[in-house]
Amino acid sequence: MTDFHVLIAVGAILFALGLLCVMTRRNAISVLMGVELILNSAALNFVTFSHYTAGNLLGQGMAIFIIILAAAEAAVALAIFMNIYRTISTSEVDRADQLHG
């Protein structure tokens, strides 16, 4: 087992944990944290394969775009959560089931 296998295993474990977080959590911010874990696992896999098998920087470029998308997504998602909290006084994803609250 080389460092390469350890790193892709870490990527897979982070993805599984993020998926579990998204599926089981009720609080919207916890769900967002699960999404961040999934994005990080994807970026780690991109960089690992780019370093170990391709030998170029294309995977690192993809990881930069993943970080950019995560930043934009976190800002907009938290703004939406603030609005939901102001409207229904909770941040549980199950309770936000009306289009016009």
């Binding site: 944990l17 599926m23 089981t24 609080n27 916890s30 780690l44 960089v47 098998t53 470029g61």
Partner: protein, 171 residues
């Protein structure tokens, strides 16, 4: 020899830090503990980027994730949790049902990872910032420009969404 041993120890320390704090993120009862455990997960991933010879990426991971996104998340926790001096346990649902598909996915991923011969060999560790800059302005030029427009749109949209609505404001 001693350098290699030390490198391996630090590498495994980052691996354990990343996975262990990610487990805390998922299974912690308090959402604020999850948020702070996410800090250590992101820091651990930044450390793993250093081992992958991605120095620029490690720095931007620290700046953007730990400095920006995590601060946003912690602010979000403080602003959307009722703080009346009592702790609010984080509720979960379908925990045992959710483990089945997640275990299936991780089993398939591990099977593929360890059964395929990946021809893996570490490429030389060189400074990447200059080459990444060239890459962003040649191969990735169109995604780069689209990303800048996306960030501008997200900035304006998030500000517009987070402000109180017109009828709610005091005159």
């Amino acid at each position: 020899m001693i350098i290699e041993l030390l490198t391996q120890i630090i590498f495994w320390a980052f691996v354990i830090l990343t996975v262990g704090s990610a487990i805390v993120v998922v299974f912690s009862k308090r959402i604020i503990y999850s948020a702070f455990a996410l800090l250590f997960t992101l820091f651990g991933v930044a450390g793993l980027y250093v081992f992958l010879a991605a120095d620029f990426l490690a720095a931007s991971q620290l700046l953007v994730y730990v400095g920006g996104i995590l601060t946003l998340i912690i602010f979000g926790v403080f602003l959307t949790t009722k703080l009346h001096g009592m702790s609010i346990p984080e509720q979960t649902h379908q925990r045992y049902l959710a483990i089945i598909p997640v275990a299936g996915i991780i089993a398939i991923l591990f099977y593929v990872f360890f059964s395929v011969d990946w021809f893996a060999h570490a490429s030389a560790a060189e400074p990447t910032t200059k080459d990444l800059g060239k890459l962003l302005l040649t191969t990735y030029l169109v995604p780069f420009e689209v990303a800048s427009v996306l960030l501008l749109a997200a900035l304006i949209g998030a500000m517009r969404l987070a402000r109180p609505r017109e009828e709610d404001q005091d005159d």
